[in-house]
Protein backbone atom coordinates (compact mmCIF):
# COMPACT_ATOMS: atom_id res chain seq x y z
CA UNK A 1 0.00 0.00 0.00
CA UNK A 2 1.01 3.63 -0.34
CA UNK A 3 2.85 5.58 2.30
CA UNK A 4 0.46 6.38 5.16
CA UNK A 5 -0.57 9.97 5.74
CA UNK A 6 0.65 11.08 9.16
CA UNK A 7 -0.43 14.69 8.82
CA UNK A 8 -2.97 16.22 11.14
CA UNK A 9 -4.97 19.44 11.18
CA UNK A 10 -5.45 20.56 14.71
CA UNK A 11 -7.04 23.82 15.85
CA UNK A 12 -6.03 25.43 12.57
CA UNK A 13 -2.45 24.14 12.69
CA UNK A 14 -1.18 21.85 9.97
CA UNK A 15 1.29 19.33 11.39
CA UNK A 16 3.22 17.00 9.09
CA UNK A 17 2.94 14.31 11.72
CA UNK A 18 1.30 14.03 15.15
CA UNK A 19 4.48 13.92 17.25
CA UNK A 20 5.93 16.83 19.20
CA UNK A 21 8.12 17.09 22.27
CA UNK A 22 6.36 17.90 25.54
CA UNK A 23 7.03 21.26 27.14
CA UNK A 24 9.99 21.28 29.50
CA UNK A 25 11.66 18.25 27.98
CA UNK A 26 13.10 19.99 24.95
CA UNK A 27 14.33 23.41 26.12
CA UNK A 28 13.82 25.81 23.22
CA UNK A 29 14.90 23.19 20.73
CA UNK A 30 18.55 24.09 20.27
CA UNK A 31 19.97 21.11 22.18
CA UNK A 32 18.02 18.53 20.18
CA UNK A 33 18.77 20.24 16.86
CA UNK A 34 22.25 18.70 17.40
CA UNK A 35 20.66 15.27 17.03
CA UNK A 36 18.23 15.76 14.11
CA UNK A 37 16.62 18.56 12.07
CA UNK A 38 13.66 19.87 14.05
CA UNK A 39 11.52 19.98 10.91
CA UNK A 40 11.12 16.22 11.25
CA UNK A 41 8.75 16.94 14.14
CA UNK A 42 5.06 17.74 13.96
CA UNK A 43 5.78 20.83 16.05
CA UNK A 44 8.21 22.07 18.68
CA UNK A 45 6.82 22.92 22.11
CA UNK A 46 8.95 25.23 24.22
CA UNK A 47 9.76 25.15 27.87
CA UNK A 48 7.31 27.14 30.02
CA UNK A 49 7.80 30.89 29.71
CA UNK A 50 6.95 33.39 32.46
CA UNK A 51 6.87 37.18 32.42
CA UNK A 52 10.11 37.63 34.36
CA UNK A 53 13.16 35.35 34.29
CA UNK A 54 12.97 32.54 36.85
CA UNK A 55 15.93 30.66 38.31
CA UNK A 56 13.81 27.71 39.42
CA UNK A 57 14.03 25.44 42.43
CA UNK A 58 17.06 24.26 44.41
CA UNK A 59 18.69 20.98 43.35
CA UNK A 60 18.24 18.02 43.27
CA UNK A 61 15.46 18.83 40.80
CA UNK A 62 15.19 15.43 39.14
CA UNK A 63 15.10 11.83 40.33
CA UNK A 64 14.36 8.50 38.75
CA UNK A 65 11.32 6.67 40.09
CA UNK A 66 10.63 3.11 38.93
CA UNK A 67 9.47 3.35 35.33
CA UNK A 68 9.38 7.11 35.48
CA UNK A 69 10.95 10.22 36.90
CA UNK A 70 10.12 13.04 39.27
CA UNK A 71 10.97 16.63 38.46
CA UNK A 72 10.66 19.92 40.27
CA UNK A 73 12.50 22.31 37.98
CA UNK A 74 10.42 25.27 39.12
CA UNK A 75 9.72 26.87 35.74
CA UNK A 76 13.30 28.02 35.26
CA UNK A 77 13.29 30.19 32.13
CA UNK A 78 14.84 33.43 30.85
CA UNK A 79 11.53 35.34 30.75
CA UNK A 80 9.17 36.02 27.85
CA UNK A 81 10.97 39.10 26.50
CA UNK A 82 14.26 37.21 26.17
CA UNK A 83 12.44 34.24 24.66
CA UNK A 84 10.68 36.47 22.13
CA UNK A 85 13.92 38.28 21.27
CA UNK A 86 16.37 35.36 21.18
CA UNK A 87 14.76 31.92 21.17
CA UNK A 88 11.67 32.40 19.00
CA UNK A 89 13.50 34.06 16.07
CA UNK A 90 15.81 31.03 15.95
CA UNK A 91 12.96 28.55 16.31
CA UNK A 92 10.91 30.32 13.63
CA UNK A 93 13.68 29.52 11.12
CA UNK A 94 13.60 25.76 11.74
CA UNK A 95 10.70 25.06 9.38
CA UNK A 96 8.43 23.58 12.03
CA UNK A 97 5.37 24.99 13.84
CA UNK A 98 6.26 26.44 17.25
CA UNK A 99 3.98 26.13 20.25
CA UNK A 100 5.02 28.33 23.16
CA UNK A 101 4.11 27.15 26.65
CA UNK A 102 3.03 30.08 28.82
CA UNK A 103 2.92 30.11 32.61
CA UNK A 104 2.19 32.64 35.35
CA UNK A 105 1.47 33.13 39.00
CA UNK A 106 -1.42 35.54 38.50
CA UNK A 107 -4.03 36.00 35.81
CA UNK A 108 -2.41 39.28 34.81
CA UNK A 109 0.92 37.57 34.33
CA UNK A 110 -0.57 34.91 32.06
CA UNK A 111 -2.33 37.58 30.02
CA UNK A 112 0.84 39.61 29.59
CA UNK A 113 2.97 36.59 28.67
CA UNK A 114 0.45 35.42 26.08
CA UNK A 115 0.02 38.94 24.71
CA UNK A 116 3.79 39.20 24.11
CA UNK A 117 4.01 35.74 22.51
CA UNK A 118 1.00 36.40 20.31
CA UNK A 119 2.26 39.83 19.26
CA UNK A 120 5.76 38.51 18.46
CA UNK A 121 4.52 36.97 15.23
CA UNK A 122 7.05 34.19 15.83
CA UNK A 123 4.84 31.50 17.37
CA UNK A 124 2.17 29.31 15.79
CA UNK A 125 0.23 28.47 18.92
CA UNK A 126 0.17 28.94 22.67
CA UNK A 127 -0.07 26.22 25.27
CA UNK A 128 -1.27 27.46 28.65
CA UNK A 129 0.39 25.75 31.60
CA UNK A 130 -2.32 25.92 34.26
CA UNK A 131 -0.58 23.69 36.80
CA UNK A 132 1.15 26.70 38.36
CA UNK A 133 0.21 27.86 41.86
CA UNK A 134 -2.10 30.88 41.87
CA UNK A 135 -0.38 33.20 44.35
CA UNK A 136 -3.55 35.23 44.87
CA UNK A 137 -5.49 32.11 45.86
CA UNK A 138 -3.14 30.67 48.46
CA UNK A 139 -1.05 28.77 45.94
CA UNK A 140 -3.78 26.50 44.64
CA UNK A 141 -3.11 25.65 41.01
CA UNK A 142 -5.21 27.45 38.36
CA UNK A 143 -6.01 24.14 36.76
CA UNK A 144 -7.93 22.54 39.62
CA UNK A 145 -11.00 24.79 39.77
CA UNK A 146 -13.36 24.89 36.77
CA UNK A 147 -14.46 28.47 37.56
CA UNK A 148 -10.93 29.82 38.03
CA UNK A 149 -9.74 28.05 34.89
CA UNK A 150 -12.60 29.23 32.70
CA UNK A 151 -12.02 32.82 33.81
CA UNK A 152 -8.26 32.52 33.15
CA UNK A 153 -8.72 31.01 29.69
CA UNK A 154 -11.34 33.62 28.86
CA UNK A 155 -8.97 36.46 29.82
CA UNK A 156 -6.04 34.99 27.91
CA UNK A 157 -8.24 34.31 24.88
CA UNK A 158 -8.88 38.03 24.46
CA UNK A 159 -5.19 38.81 23.87
CA UNK A 160 -4.34 35.65 21.92
CA UNK A 161 -4.69 35.69 18.16
CA UNK A 162 -3.05 32.25 17.90
CA UNK A 163 -4.59 28.82 18.46
CA UNK A 164 -4.82 28.41 22.22
CA UNK A 165 -4.24 25.06 23.90
CA UNK A 166 -4.75 24.49 27.61
CA UNK A 167 -2.54 21.88 29.26
CA UNK A 168 -4.54 20.08 31.91
CA UNK A 169 -3.31 18.90 35.27
CA UNK A 170 -4.22 15.31 36.18
CA UNK A 171 -4.18 16.22 39.88
CA UNK A 172 -7.92 16.86 39.98
CA UNK A 173 -11.06 15.01 41.05
CA UNK A 174 -12.76 14.94 37.64
CA UNK A 175 -10.70 16.02 34.67
CA UNK A 176 -13.81 16.19 32.45
CA UNK A 177 -15.15 19.17 34.41
CA UNK A 178 -11.82 20.96 34.01
CA UNK A 179 -11.69 20.15 30.31
CA UNK A 180 -15.21 21.51 29.78
CA UNK A 181 -14.28 24.69 31.67
CA UNK A 182 -11.24 25.24 29.44
CA UNK A 183 -13.43 24.71 26.38
CA UNK A 184 -16.03 27.14 27.72
CA UNK A 185 -13.30 29.71 28.30
CA UNK A 186 -12.41 29.59 24.62
CA UNK A 187 -9.61 27.04 24.30
CA UNK A 188 -9.05 25.76 20.75
CA UNK A 189 -7.60 22.51 22.04
CA UNK A 190 -6.42 20.67 25.13
CA UNK A 191 -3.16 18.94 25.95
CA UNK A 192 -3.00 16.30 28.67
CA UNK A 193 -1.72 15.08 30.98
CA UNK A 194 0.74 17.23 32.85
CA UNK A 195 2.71 15.38 35.55
CA UNK A 196 1.19 13.64 38.55
CA UNK A 197 2.45 15.04 41.83
CA UNK A 198 4.67 12.51 43.56
CA UNK A 199 7.32 12.16 46.21
CA UNK A 200 10.29 9.91 46.87
CA UNK A 201 12.19 9.49 50.12
CA UNK A 202 15.84 8.56 50.58
CA UNK A 203 15.33 6.22 53.52
CA UNK A 204 19.02 6.15 54.44
CA UNK A 205 19.23 9.92 54.75
CA UNK A 206 15.62 10.13 55.97
CA UNK A 207 14.72 12.99 53.70
CA UNK A 208 12.99 13.61 50.37
CA UNK A 209 15.12 12.99 47.30
CA UNK A 210 14.03 16.24 45.66
CA UNK A 211 14.99 19.54 47.30
CA UNK A 212 11.42 20.69 46.62
CA UNK A 213 10.17 17.56 48.46
CA UNK A 214 7.49 16.86 45.85
CA UNK A 215 7.74 16.76 42.08
CA UNK A 216 5.89 15.81 38.95
CA UNK A 217 5.88 12.15 37.98
CA UNK A 218 6.22 11.38 34.28
CA UNK A 219 7.28 8.50 32.09
CA UNK A 220 5.94 5.01 31.39
CA UNK A 221 4.58 4.72 34.96
CA UNK A 222 1.86 7.32 34.24
CA UNK A 223 0.78 6.06 30.81
CA UNK A 224 -2.36 4.15 31.80
CA UNK A 225 -3.58 7.16 33.81
CA UNK A 226 -2.93 9.42 30.83
CA UNK A 227 -4.70 7.13 28.35
CA UNK A 228 -7.71 6.95 30.65
CA UNK A 229 -7.86 10.75 31.00
CA UNK A 230 -7.49 11.34 27.25
CA UNK A 231 -10.32 8.88 26.71
CA UNK A 232 -12.57 10.52 29.33
CA UNK A 233 -11.92 14.04 28.07
CA UNK A 234 -12.39 13.28 24.38
CA UNK A 235 -15.77 11.73 25.26
CA UNK A 236 -17.10 15.08 26.48
CA UNK A 237 -15.33 17.94 24.66
CA UNK A 238 -15.69 19.09 21.07
CA UNK A 239 -12.17 20.47 20.69
CA UNK A 240 -9.09 18.44 19.74
CA UNK A 241 -6.91 16.83 22.37
CA UNK A 242 -3.17 16.26 22.27
CA UNK A 243 -2.29 13.30 24.50
CA UNK A 244 0.84 12.65 26.47
CA UNK A 245 2.13 10.64 29.40
CA UNK A 246 4.82 7.99 29.08
CA UNK A 247 4.85 7.68 25.29
CA UNK A 248 8.01 5.75 24.34
CA UNK A 249 7.06 4.05 21.09
CA UNK A 250 4.89 4.35 18.02
CA UNK A 251 2.57 1.79 19.55
CA UNK A 252 2.18 3.96 22.66
CA UNK A 253 1.31 6.91 20.41
CA UNK A 254 -1.26 4.82 18.51
CA UNK A 255 -2.81 3.88 21.85
CA UNK A 256 -3.37 7.57 22.70
CA UNK A 257 -4.79 8.23 19.23
CA UNK A 258 -7.19 5.30 19.57
CA UNK A 259 -8.21 6.73 22.96
CA UNK A 260 -9.21 9.90 21.12
CA UNK A 261 -6.11 12.08 20.82
CA UNK A 262 -5.48 14.01 17.62
CA UNK A 263 -1.74 14.21 18.23
CA UNK A 264 0.77 13.32 20.92
CA UNK A 265 3.57 14.85 22.93
CA UNK A 266 6.69 12.98 23.98
CA UNK A 267 8.43 14.05 27.17
CA UNK A 268 10.55 11.81 29.37
CA UNK A 269 11.43 9.55 26.42
CA UNK A 270 13.65 12.33 25.04
CA UNK A 271 15.91 11.88 28.06
CA UNK A 272 16.14 8.11 27.70
CA UNK A 273 16.69 8.38 23.96
CA UNK A 274 17.40 11.77 22.35
CA UNK A 275 16.14 10.32 19.06
CA UNK A 276 12.81 9.27 20.63
CA UNK A 277 10.61 11.65 18.61
CA UNK A 278 11.85 10.77 15.11
CA UNK A 279 11.88 7.08 16.07
CA UNK A 280 8.26 7.26 17.27
CA UNK A 281 7.22 9.02 14.04
CA UNK A 282 8.77 6.19 12.01
CA UNK A 283 7.17 3.57 14.23
CA UNK A 284 3.70 5.13 13.84
CA UNK A 285 4.13 5.03 10.04
CA UNK A 286 5.27 1.41 10.28
CA UNK A 287 2.27 0.43 12.40
CA UNK A 288 -0.11 2.14 10.00
CA UNK A 289 1.50 0.40 7.05
CA UNK A 290 1.40 -3.01 8.71
CA UNK A 291 -2.26 -2.59 9.65
CA UNK A 292 -3.50 -1.01 6.44
CA UNK A 293 -4.28 2.35 8.03
CA UNK A 294 -4.20 5.16 5.49
CA UNK A 295 -4.65 8.13 7.81
CA UNK A 296 -4.77 8.80 11.52
CA UNK A 297 -8.43 9.84 11.24
CA UNK A 298 -9.26 6.17 10.60
CA UNK A 299 -8.13 5.18 14.10
CA UNK A 300 -8.73 8.34 16.12
CA UNK A 301 -11.05 7.46 18.98
CA UNK A 302 -11.82 4.12 17.31
CA UNK A 303 -12.30 2.34 20.62
CA UNK A 304 -15.18 4.60 21.58
Amino acid sequence: MSVPDLSVEIAGLHLRNPVMPASGCFGFGREYARFYPLNQLGAVVTKAVTLEPRLGNPTPRVAEAGGGMLNAIGLANPGVRHVAAVELPWLAKQGVPVIVNAAGQTKDEYVEVVRIISASGLANAVELNVSCPNVKAGGISFGVSPQVLEDLVCSVRKVCSLPLFVKLSPNVTDIRQIALAAQAGGADGLTLINTLIGMQIDIRRRRPVLANKTGGLSGPAVKPVAVRMVYEVTQVVGIPVIGMGGIYSGEDAVEFIMAGASAVMVGTANFTDPFACPRIIAEIAQFMQEHGIGSLAEIRGCIA
Partner: protein, 253 residues
Protein backbone atom coordinates in the same frame (compact mmCIF):
# COMPACT_ATOMS: atom_id res chain seq x y z
CA UNK B 1 25.90 5.16 20.13
CA UNK B 2 26.52 1.56 21.05
CA UNK B 3 29.88 0.71 22.61
CA UNK B 4 31.11 -2.70 23.67
CA UNK B 5 32.49 -3.52 27.10
CA UNK B 6 35.92 -5.10 26.69
CA UNK B 7 37.01 -5.28 30.29
CA UNK B 8 35.51 -4.85 33.74
CA UNK B 9 37.20 -4.70 37.12
CA UNK B 10 36.35 -3.86 40.68
CA UNK B 11 39.28 -1.60 41.49
CA UNK B 12 38.41 -0.50 45.04
CA UNK B 13 35.67 -0.79 47.64
CA UNK B 14 32.45 -0.21 45.64
CA UNK B 15 34.40 1.27 42.71
CA UNK B 16 34.30 -0.25 39.24
CA UNK B 17 36.20 0.33 36.04
CA UNK B 18 34.81 -0.50 32.60
CA UNK B 19 36.75 -0.30 29.37
CA UNK B 20 34.64 0.42 26.30
CA UNK B 21 35.35 0.20 22.62
CA UNK B 22 33.46 0.84 19.39
CA UNK B 23 32.79 3.76 17.09
CA UNK B 24 33.28 6.92 19.12
CA UNK B 25 35.03 10.27 18.52
CA UNK B 26 37.90 9.37 20.87
CA UNK B 27 40.18 12.04 19.45
CA UNK B 28 37.78 14.86 20.30
CA UNK B 29 37.19 14.06 23.97
CA UNK B 30 38.27 16.76 26.41
CA UNK B 31 39.24 15.85 29.96
CA UNK B 32 36.24 16.54 32.18
CA UNK B 33 33.65 15.49 29.60
CA UNK B 34 31.22 12.71 30.42
CA UNK B 35 28.93 10.05 29.01
CA UNK B 36 25.23 9.56 29.62
CA UNK B 37 24.79 5.80 29.89
CA UNK B 38 21.49 4.01 29.35
CA UNK B 39 20.66 1.64 32.19
CA UNK B 40 18.91 -1.62 31.38
CA UNK B 41 17.07 -2.62 28.25
CA UNK B 42 13.52 -1.98 29.43
CA UNK B 43 11.81 1.14 30.76
CA UNK B 44 12.38 0.73 34.48
CA UNK B 45 15.33 3.11 34.29
CA UNK B 46 14.26 6.11 32.24
CA UNK B 47 17.21 8.33 33.12
CA UNK B 48 20.70 7.74 31.80
CA UNK B 49 23.51 7.99 34.32
CA UNK B 50 26.23 10.60 33.89
CA UNK B 51 29.71 9.07 34.21
CA UNK B 52 32.92 10.95 33.57
CA UNK B 53 35.51 9.73 31.10
CA UNK B 54 38.60 8.64 33.03
CA UNK B 55 40.97 7.73 30.22
CA UNK B 56 40.98 7.61 26.44
CA UNK B 57 43.12 5.77 23.91
CA UNK B 58 42.79 5.96 20.14
CA UNK B 59 40.22 3.17 20.14
CA UNK B 60 38.87 2.79 23.67
CA UNK B 61 37.85 4.68 26.76
CA UNK B 62 37.67 3.88 30.44
CA UNK B 63 35.07 4.89 32.98
CA UNK B 64 35.37 4.57 36.73
CA UNK B 65 32.29 4.86 38.91
CA UNK B 66 31.03 4.13 42.37
CA UNK B 67 28.00 1.91 42.92
CA UNK B 68 25.50 4.18 44.64
CA UNK B 69 22.15 2.75 43.56
CA UNK B 70 20.32 0.42 41.21
CA UNK B 71 21.57 2.09 38.05
CA UNK B 72 25.24 1.95 38.90
CA UNK B 73 24.71 -1.55 40.33
CA UNK B 74 23.44 -2.65 36.89
CA UNK B 75 26.41 -0.96 35.27
CA UNK B 76 28.82 -2.83 37.55
CA UNK B 77 27.26 -6.13 36.48
CA UNK B 78 28.18 -5.67 32.81
CA UNK B 79 30.50 -8.29 31.37
CA UNK B 80 33.05 -8.19 28.58
CA UNK B 81 31.21 -8.39 25.27
CA UNK B 82 28.06 -6.59 26.54
CA UNK B 83 26.82 -3.58 24.62
CA UNK B 84 26.37 -0.21 26.29
CA UNK B 85 24.19 2.57 24.89
CA UNK B 86 26.09 5.80 25.53
CA UNK B 87 25.63 9.43 24.61
CA UNK B 88 28.74 11.57 24.44
CA UNK B 89 31.20 13.01 24.83
CA UNK B 90 29.06 15.60 26.62
CA UNK B 91 29.68 18.82 28.51
CA UNK B 92 32.45 21.37 28.67
CA UNK B 93 35.71 19.96 29.98
CA UNK B 94 38.81 21.39 31.65
CA UNK B 95 40.64 24.11 29.69
CA UNK B 96 44.27 22.99 29.44
CA UNK B 97 46.92 25.24 30.99
CA UNK B 98 49.38 27.19 28.83
CA UNK B 99 52.81 25.63 28.30
CA UNK B 100 55.21 25.79 31.25
CA UNK B 101 52.44 26.35 33.81
CA UNK B 102 52.80 24.93 37.29
CA UNK B 103 49.74 22.77 37.89
CA UNK B 104 48.06 21.25 40.92
CA UNK B 105 45.35 18.62 40.55
CA UNK B 106 43.15 17.89 43.59
CA UNK B 107 40.84 14.89 43.69
CA UNK B 108 38.55 13.55 46.38
CA UNK B 109 37.38 9.93 46.12
CA UNK B 110 35.25 9.31 43.06
CA UNK B 111 36.19 12.82 41.88
CA UNK B 112 39.58 11.45 40.84
CA UNK B 113 38.79 9.65 37.54
CA UNK B 114 38.30 12.66 35.22
CA UNK B 115 41.42 14.17 36.76
CA UNK B 116 43.50 11.23 35.59
CA UNK B 117 42.61 11.97 31.98
CA UNK B 118 43.36 15.64 32.69
CA UNK B 119 46.73 14.80 34.27
CA UNK B 120 47.69 12.79 31.19
CA UNK B 121 47.02 15.83 29.00
CA UNK B 122 48.63 18.32 31.37
CA UNK B 123 51.80 16.35 32.07
CA UNK B 124 53.56 17.00 28.73
CA UNK B 125 52.61 20.71 28.86
CA UNK B 126 53.45 21.68 32.37
CA UNK B 127 56.72 22.55 34.07
CA UNK B 128 55.50 21.03 37.28
CA UNK B 129 52.54 18.76 38.03
CA UNK B 130 51.53 17.99 41.58
CA UNK B 131 48.59 15.75 42.39
CA UNK B 132 46.80 15.60 45.75
CA UNK B 133 44.33 12.74 46.16
CA UNK B 134 42.18 11.88 49.14
CA UNK B 135 40.34 8.65 49.85
CA UNK B 136 38.49 7.35 52.89
CA UNK B 137 40.87 4.40 53.36
CA UNK B 138 43.39 2.47 51.33
CA UNK B 139 40.61 0.04 50.39
CA UNK B 140 38.77 2.94 48.73
CA UNK B 141 41.78 4.14 46.74
CA UNK B 142 42.39 3.44 43.07
CA UNK B 143 44.67 4.41 40.19
CA UNK B 144 47.29 5.65 42.65
CA UNK B 145 50.14 4.10 40.62
CA UNK B 146 48.78 5.56 37.41
CA UNK B 147 48.70 9.08 38.88
CA UNK B 148 52.17 8.63 40.41
CA UNK B 149 53.67 8.13 36.94
CA UNK B 150 52.35 11.51 35.79
CA UNK B 151 53.31 13.83 38.61
CA UNK B 152 54.39 14.34 42.18
CA UNK B 153 51.65 12.55 44.11
CA UNK B 154 50.59 13.31 47.68
CA UNK B 155 47.96 11.03 49.19
CA UNK B 156 45.73 11.31 52.22
CA UNK B 157 43.26 8.91 53.80
CA UNK B 158 40.87 9.51 56.68
CA UNK B 159 42.48 6.70 58.69
CA UNK B 160 46.05 7.13 57.51
CA UNK B 161 46.07 3.68 55.86
CA UNK B 162 47.57 5.29 52.76
CA UNK B 163 49.58 8.52 52.75
CA UNK B 164 48.86 11.22 55.28
CA UNK B 165 46.19 10.77 57.90
CA UNK B 166 43.66 13.42 57.01
CA UNK B 167 41.78 14.80 54.05
CA UNK B 168 42.92 15.81 50.62
CA UNK B 169 43.13 19.35 51.99
CA UNK B 170 45.90 18.16 54.31
CA UNK B 171 47.65 16.74 51.25
CA UNK B 172 47.37 20.11 49.50
CA UNK B 173 48.67 21.93 52.58
CA UNK B 174 51.54 19.51 52.86
CA UNK B 175 52.53 20.24 49.25
CA UNK B 176 52.21 23.98 49.86
CA UNK B 177 54.34 23.65 53.01
CA UNK B 178 57.15 22.41 50.77
CA UNK B 179 57.11 25.86 49.22
CA UNK B 180 55.35 24.82 46.03
CA UNK B 181 53.36 27.40 44.04
CA UNK B 182 50.96 26.80 41.20
CA UNK B 183 49.49 28.79 38.33
CA UNK B 184 46.59 26.41 37.65
CA UNK B 185 44.56 24.35 40.11
CA UNK B 186 42.03 21.76 38.97
CA UNK B 187 39.72 20.02 41.45
CA UNK B 188 36.96 17.45 41.46
CA UNK B 189 35.21 15.96 44.47
CA UNK B 190 32.42 16.72 46.93
CA UNK B 191 31.27 20.36 47.07
CA UNK B 192 32.56 20.98 50.65
CA UNK B 193 36.00 19.82 49.50
CA UNK B 194 35.92 22.07 46.43
CA UNK B 195 34.93 24.98 48.63
CA UNK B 196 37.92 24.50 50.91
CA UNK B 197 40.33 24.01 47.99
CA UNK B 198 39.17 27.33 46.56
CA UNK B 199 39.56 29.00 49.98
CA UNK B 200 43.12 27.66 50.25
CA UNK B 201 44.07 29.77 47.24
CA UNK B 202 41.91 32.81 47.96
CA UNK B 203 44.91 35.09 48.49
CA UNK B 204 46.93 33.78 45.54
CA UNK B 205 47.06 34.48 41.83
CA UNK B 206 45.76 31.12 40.77
CA UNK B 207 43.47 30.08 37.94
CA UNK B 208 41.13 27.51 39.43
CA UNK B 209 38.69 25.11 37.83
CA UNK B 210 36.25 22.73 39.48
CA UNK B 211 34.19 19.91 38.05
CA UNK B 212 30.72 19.65 39.58
CA UNK B 213 28.41 16.71 40.01
CA UNK B 214 24.62 16.98 39.95
CA UNK B 215 21.66 14.71 39.27
CA UNK B 216 20.86 14.97 35.57
CA UNK B 217 17.96 14.05 33.33
CA UNK B 218 18.70 15.00 29.71
CA UNK B 219 22.47 15.51 29.99
CA UNK B 220 22.45 17.88 27.01
CA UNK B 221 21.24 21.18 28.48
CA UNK B 222 17.55 20.97 27.64
CA UNK B 223 15.80 20.16 30.91
CA UNK B 224 17.45 22.49 33.44
CA UNK B 225 17.49 19.67 35.97
CA UNK B 226 21.17 20.06 36.93
CA UNK B 227 21.96 23.67 37.64
CA UNK B 228 24.41 25.49 39.84
CA UNK B 229 24.39 29.13 40.86
CA UNK B 230 26.62 31.67 39.18
CA UNK B 231 29.15 33.72 41.13
CA UNK B 232 26.87 36.46 42.39
CA UNK B 233 24.02 34.01 42.92
CA UNK B 234 22.07 35.99 40.32
CA UNK B 235 21.81 33.30 37.74
CA UNK B 236 22.22 29.61 37.04
CA UNK B 237 24.40 27.53 34.76
CA UNK B 238 23.65 24.04 33.51
CA UNK B 239 26.13 21.56 34.96
CA UNK B 240 25.68 19.18 32.00
CA UNK B 241 26.16 21.65 29.17
CA UNK B 242 27.81 24.83 30.53
CA UNK B 243 29.87 22.56 32.82
CA UNK B 244 30.56 20.21 34.46
CA UNK B 245 33.82 22.19 34.62
CA UNK B 246 33.60 25.80 35.74
CA UNK B 247 36.03 28.55 36.66
CA UNK B 248 35.71 28.40 40.44
CA UNK B 249 35.13 32.14 40.60
CA UNK B 250 32.12 31.79 38.33
CA UNK B 251 29.99 29.49 40.47
CA UNK B 252 28.73 29.28 44.03
CA UNK B 253 30.21 26.24 45.74
Amino acid sequence: MLLTVTDTARIAHGIWQLTLTGTFPYDTVQPGQFLMIRIGAGLEHVLRRPVSIAAVTEDSLAIVFRVVGKGTQWLSERKAGDGLDVLGPLGTGFPLPPAKARVLIVGGGIGAPPLYFLAERVQPLSDRLDVALGFQTQADSFWVDRFAVLGNLKLATDDGSLGLKGTVIDAVESLAADGLKWDYVYACGPIPMLKVVKQCFASQEVQGYVSLEERMACGVGACYGCVCQTGGGSGTRRVCADGPVFDWNGVVL
